[in-house]
């Protein structure tokens, strides 16, 4: 197991390197001179050159990359152009809020998805199966940013039960676990949960359906095992695959919540990202994307290792 772990860790390094290259190149593909955002309009050519040298922008790209990555490993992600504050601080504050949202959505989505999927797999080709399949197709097809707006129309505009914006009373962005804050969490978390419910239900349905037709299930029934015990065997067989799908979904929830965060003005990483885009704050854009992507890479790694740890059928060497 330890060799497997080390081998997986080594395999992650080139991917992490590639991710950092893409994030570095993001700023390079952006049109316009990065200096125009910070330089006064009447700056002379010499002043511009001096500034360019000060930011290291006169050096060749590989050197610029080396300097950037050197600062990065020391925790320095540069300064936000719009606010002047260090990018690292801004990103980590926002990622915490995004994590609250993503984990809440996962807590809603995974049990419902598993339950629906198992139900459909168990009662395959009955009306229950068809209803669940319809739900899961609708779930993966719905543009969730629109669903968010619909929920706001129903629960905020028409019924007035829940707030439609922000993460706490008075637009506070500091998250606390109390009812005043949780009220703000309900609508975005439910909205974000819909797509993973569809995906998890579809996966579990296929898994449960396949496993239930296997010979060992017949054998277990034949030797007189109770239905509940048989289902426990089925669940154990499905666990590894189901877990890996859910792990990936958690990564998607964190990285993909930007549209939902925009709909609900949730002060998370997605909201930060859309602000960075509109203020052309490229260091902030770069930093946020890098952190989210690296989180996704780490999530993939954890999923792989966890899957190998619980499923003895996977080669661990």
């Amino acid at each position: 197991m330890l060799t497997y772990l080390i081998r997986r860790l080594i395999l992650v390094l080139p991917v992490a390197f590639g991710v950092s290259v893409i994030c570095f190149l993001l700023v390079q593909i952006a049109p316009g001179d990065p200096l125009t955002a910070i330089m006064p309009v009447d700056a002379t050519a010499e002043e511009q050159d001096a500034m360019r040298a000060a930011y290291g922008l006169d050096k060749p790209l590989p050197v610029q990359y080396a300097i950037w990555i050197g600062n990065l490993v020391q925790g320095d992600m540069g300064k936000s152009i719009a606010s002047g504050r260090p990018v690292a601080g801004e990103v980590f504050g926002a990622v915490q809020n995004s994590l609250v949202l993503a984990l809440s959505a996962a807590v809603i989505a995974f049990p419902i998805g598993i339950f629906l999927g198992f139900l459909a797999g168990y009662f395959r080709d009955t009306w229950i199966d068809r209803v669940v399949t319809a739900i899961s197709i609708a779930g993966v097809s719905v543009p969730n940013y629109w669903l968010g707006i619909v929920l706001v129309i129903i629960f905020s505009v028409n019924l007035g039960w829940l707030p439609s914006m922000g993460a706490g009373p008075g637009g506070s962005s500091e998250w606390e676990w109390n009812w005043l804050h949780i009220r703000h969490l309900i609508l975005p978390a439910v909205t974000l949960a819909v797509v993973p419910i569809g995906i998890v239900a579809r996966t579990v349905r296929a898994l449960a359906g396949d496993i239930l037709t296997m010979d060992f299930v017949q054998a277990l029934y034949a030797k007189g095992m109770s239905r509940a015990d048989v289902l426990r065997h089925v669940a154990r067989n499905a666990a590894a695959t189901a877990l890996s799908v859910m792990g990936l979904q958690l990564g998607y929830l964190l990285g993909g919540s930007i549209l939902i965060e925009t709909v609900f003005n949730w002060p998370g990483s997605g909201f930060l990202l859309s602000n960075a885009i509109f203020q052309r704050d490229l260091p902030l854009l770069q930093g946020t994307i890098l952190v989210l992507a690296l989180f996704f890479v780490a999530m993939n790694l954890i999923v792989d290792v966890a899957q190998a740890a619980i499923d003895p059928r996977i080669q661990r060497t």
Binding site: A30, V157, G255, I258, I277
Partner: protein, 295 residues
Amino acid sequence: MALAETLPTEPAPAAKPQGYWSGVGARLIRDPLTLFCSAVILGLILAAIFAPWIGLADPYKGSMIARLKPLGTEGHILGTDEQGRDMLARLIYGGRLTLFIGLMPVVFAFFIGSALGIVAGYVGGLTNTIIMRTVDVFFAFPSVLLAIAISGALGAGIVNSLVSLTIVFVPPITRVAEAVTSGVRALDYIDAARATGADAFTVIRVHVIGNVLSPIFVYATSLTSVCMILAAGLSFLGIGVRPPEPEWGLMLNTLRSAIYVNPWLSALPGVMIFITSLCLNLLSDGLRSAMNVRD
């Protein structure tokens, strides 16, 4: 002699061999849901193409006194938007850009990804390593994040959206194409073809493509719904299509300010996105079973 006489002199009339595509067609005809979904998609595309000739109001012409009229208003069956422009006209015209930006990236990615994946899968070795490891890096980004990152850096615009969405969908298609091609590459008939002296290009053209395109195609169709949602999502965020063009995601964004005035009107563009993406998903599922592709 007696034995020979009892033998049939002519072979029993064999059933006409059914081709692969006629089989697919026959299965599709018997699948009403898939047919219905293709009709809806086709209808939306045709309506978008022929929008100027079907007697709709001008989608750009607003009216200060007729803003945010509710559904069912005389002369504006689906009401008017925040600038008094006819919603029905804008929804139908909106299909032009939304469907174009929502479908074309998958088409581009299908060609680029298939080419990369088939080369990687057939040639193998170092070429495979370089292509596939590069593809792996893109898998480190959730698709929404990657699309927003590239579009955010490039800025708003139709071409930029097409570029960023194509980049998002090339890696998954390449991965599928590579997997399918390496599977076919290992079969004996490919060795036989190579033994006759055919070069790699000929073998790929004659023997590989026909056997790998169906699964890649079906996989690509399953991405169209996500692509549609993402394309409209980019415009919704303001990094896709620019105003005043009618586009469903953009309309959803500009109408958000009206949810307290005329809530259900502001949800209409999203209904269009939902219907389209639902039909694309069901159509893809139908094609998958009709074409006998297993994932």
